[in-house]
Amino acid sequence: MRAHFAFAVALLVSSQAAPLFAQGRCLPSDTIAGCFDRYLTPDAVIQPARAEQKQELMTEPTGLDTGGANLATNKKNLLPLLALSGLLGQSDADEEEGTMVFDLNFLVPGLAEKGSKNAQFEAVVNTEPEIAESLRNALPEEDRDELAGQLEGKLGGLSDYAIRLTYNHSNRSHGRSFAQYAKRFDALSRAAVDTVTPLAKVVALQTSEITNLIAQNQNIFTGENAENTRFDALPPDVSRRARLLVEEKAREIAEREDAATRAMNEFGLASFHKLLDNQPQFHLTADKKLRESLVGPEELAVKVTYEWSAVNFNAAMSEDCHRALDVSQPDNNKVRSCLSEYESFVKGNADGIENGNRFSFSGEYVEIDEDTIDAGLDGIAPIVLEKSHKLVIYAGWSRDFTLGDGEPISFDLVAEYEDISDDPLRRDRGIASLTFTRQFGGVSIPFGIVYATHSEFLTDVDEQLSAHVGLRFNAGGNNDDE
């Protein structure tokens, strides 16, 4: 029934469009390629697609941590973090100024294998180490910069570096990289297109009529790149025949292409990437900072993050379908059945896909070693730091709301608790952050309130309430900007 209905819609639209096409768009001065371009416009979608992609990137949180007395969002995608940590094969991009990053995956069996992109073991060396802030503050104010410079001049090349392990748990149901779901998209989208037209075969057939004409008139079509042949460069009888034929084939392909795109949308495959954005993802980072005493105490930090939304691709089909479609050549009947499941889910969860609830949980443990920082300078007493540790738990919820016809407002609630031990300067505290982010064209403006049971450092402030307004926009631009 579906195939018949969709095909009928395609025919209806085609028949309505026919009078426009029948007028003919191709000119005698056109080339074969130029005539094709009048129907299959190569540039018509590029700008909108780029704009959409840019918009998605701008609205995508940048992966800033949910912590501190600042506005926070838990609707972050870990992909930017993975890209930074090299898990997506972009390890060259994370070299900050003053640091050098060394890939150590070769040291760990399994991580060194080609295609193993869900874990990264690396060393990060600070090439411009500085003395500890506590030591700098202890230096006499009038000579502080000079003395600090002398002390930093004594620091060796490996006085401040870190060993870092980043792991992203990605399998058939976890992670947000398209590559993990490519086979399932291939099966579903091909089945959707096939309900209206065997498009690849149609394109080959239409092309064959053009190549046949060229073959029959090869004494006239003399160039090696036949698509550059102008119709008006051919003898009149062949010229008209060629132009009408190419135009007819281009029109036919364009109509089928449109019908196929409508089928993709009808089956909900335009929402596929949004469902992937809601997939559960788990991320772990372990960071061991190794330092000379003058730079500060050594630290071990471990952070785990889990993010999830109920309206995700996992939920769009049964586990049986996920398994059956995640192969190179799935059974056609099974694919059609799974496509029906997928379509029902997307149609039944349209609001949830656009504005659904998202949750994030993360925990961070930081252990700071005891240390005695002795500058070896007269009048500067050694600074003794006790061993301390910190445990921070975050939980977040976010949702988008649409008011009228305006752009959606993003709502983020993040709660955080910091459990500090053995640090005389800090104390335990809870923080709650409520943030509303409104899009205005290319700029997003977050407004929020942050409540903390105490200030971060020991003071006589018991409770703290602050309001923040921010501005976020894409300042980077890219080469595609025109």
């Binding site: 074969i32 390629a33 130029g34 094709f36 371009d37 299959l40 190569p42 979608v45 590029i46 697609a49 780029r50 959409e52 992609q53 998605e56 398209f178 490519a182 998209f185 291939d186 989208s189 091909r190 297109v193 065997p198 498009l199 690849a200 075969k201 394109v203 080959a204 057939l205 239409q206 092309t207 064959s208 053009i210 190549t211 046949n212 060229i214 073959a215 090869q218 079509f221 003399t222 160039g223 090696e224 790149n225 036949a226 698509e227 281009a250 392909i253 292409e257 196929a260 795109t261 993709m264 949308n265 495959l269 335009a270 929402s271 596929f272 990437h273 949004k274 992937l276 190179s328 050549q329």
Partner: protein, 115 residues
């Protein structure tokens, strides 16, 4: 460039190479020769690249269908390599951009020397 490419006067025993790279989406293809030979090319086959020998006096036709899961660009690359190793005509490299849910077709043909 355009979404159609046709090589003409292709020497016998040349090789047609077709490959699709990048993008968030999937591709499939249909390969058709005037002698009646047909093949269906899957996403995996096209990502890996396909090579077929071209024999006179046949014509060769490939229909490619690019299906986009997200706003991205897939690049279609093709060329004809003559028996001596040099390339016949211009190489084809077309970046095809689409938004989520878009379907884009690309037509490739090769006409061998007819006599």
């Amino acid at each position: 460039m355009s979404r159609i490419k046709i090589w003409n006067r292709v020497p016998d025993r040349s090789q047609l190479h077709v490959q699709v790279e990048g993008g968030e989406g999937a591709v499939d293809g249909f390969y058709m020769v005037s002698d009646g030979t047909t093949e269906e090319w899957s996403d995996g086959m096209l990502r890996a690249g396909q090579t077929r020998s071209l024999r006179t006096p046949n014509t060769y036709n490939v229909g490619l269908v690019l299906r986009f899961a997200g706003a991205s660009t897939m690049t279609v690359k093709a060329h004809v390599e003559k028996p001596g190793g040099s390339h016949h005509g211009d190489d084809y490299e077309e970046p095809v951009t689409g938004a989520a849910g878009d379907v884009k077709a690309v037509a490739i043909g090769a006409v061998t020397l007819q006599s």
